[in-house]
Symmetry: C3
Subunit: 156 residues, 3 copies
């Protein structure tokens, strides 16, 4: 079975769309797909209404964990010519292209493996409970290398 | 034959230079090279004088399709210490390093395969005609995976 | 022996941490690891007190070679909600996670191969002497492809 593994480091809306498009496209043609969320990318799999981070100001502000949902992800070019996730979402809907929410649902249906980075979570003082239940495991680099071995791996 | 495939997602000048430097360097030592342009990366292969996007304001502004040419690509650190493509181009010329225009010409001469991402183009309501004629094909993820299979793949 | 090769293009603090975390994690489980520094990534391996670039204004400003040390690397989201390397370093220390300085030392102890990109160095008019002595070699794309062949390669 062919394998595609993606490390989603970025929390940018457009890069997340690219990661999920690659992931679901690969799963659709029977690839085993591993999505490993780290740093800003963790925003994509956090619970929409997570526990409150009031009183842990720095951490909360740092990873933007106070607000949830894809519409709050910024673009990689937020200030470039007025591009915004809102515009992109509206273009995607207009063209009947799956939006990021659809893509996450599709990823889950296609049994794509969702993993969260142990170290990032540790730095932030979070636990597996802060993320959507579909996250299979919290793991570190050695385990990820084992899982991705022998396939294509992308860092996004 | 060894293979290098690059997904150019970024429209940043410096990242495009890196992608083309890797691509042409690989082709020079007889790698089969596939360059797959998606999202902002599409700017690199658009026709310099494409069709007018007046009246399709959002899309046009969104991907900056109104202006063409490499000199209009921003840097990934546009506002960082005054770095600009202009400065970088002048440094590259001073050192006799191939500029991005040279690199694209070299890529074409070296028979590097240029592909455009079907989904991005669909979202933007564009067609193959909006890109330079050297673009071999407009294709989706499954086809790209087939082409890149068994080689190294980078996401830039 | 399994192999992981990383092209560190970015000079962002958080991306550098990600690159070194992957690199040292892989080396710890006996991977051969190649780190190839290019463009902004060169900042990570420059000597802290390098030669002065006064009088070569453009170059100096361009790559920020005047100041050294990891604390001067920006975040990929510098202006996003007040995130800063300082906050991240303090979080990392609080959680007993290796900081970037520790990670570089670990990389050297683990005999990770550090390479610098020939072309970037040439553009900037620098030499091997401007970088920490642990940099093994200055090399170009063909040599890097040879070294990374048969393993996983990431572009960060």
């Amino acid at each position: 079975m062919k394998k595609l593994s993606i490390i989603l480091f970025s929390g940018d809306f457009d890069r997340a769309v690219a990661a999920f498009t690659l992931a679901t496209g690969a799963a659709a043609v029977n690839y085993q797909v591993n999505l490993f969320f780290t740093f800003w990318g963790l925003n994509v799999i956090k619970k929409k209404k997570g526990r409150s981070f009031t009183g842990k100001g720095v951490m909360a502000r740092f990873f933007g964990f106070l607000s949830g949902g894809f519409k709050n992800l910024p673009m990689s070019r937020l200030n470039f010519l007025g591009a915004s996730p809102k515009i992109m979402i509206s273009l995607m809907k207009k063209r009947n292209v799956a939006t990021l929410n659809d893509l996450l649902s599709a990823a889950i249906e296609l049994k794509i493996n969702l993993y969260a980075c142990e170290m990032s979570i540790h730095i932030l003082g979070l636990t597996k409970e802060d993320f959507i239940p579909e996250v299979k495991e919290v793991l570190g680099v050695p385990k990820f290398l084992e899982l991705s071995d022998g396939g294509e791996t992308l860092f996004i």
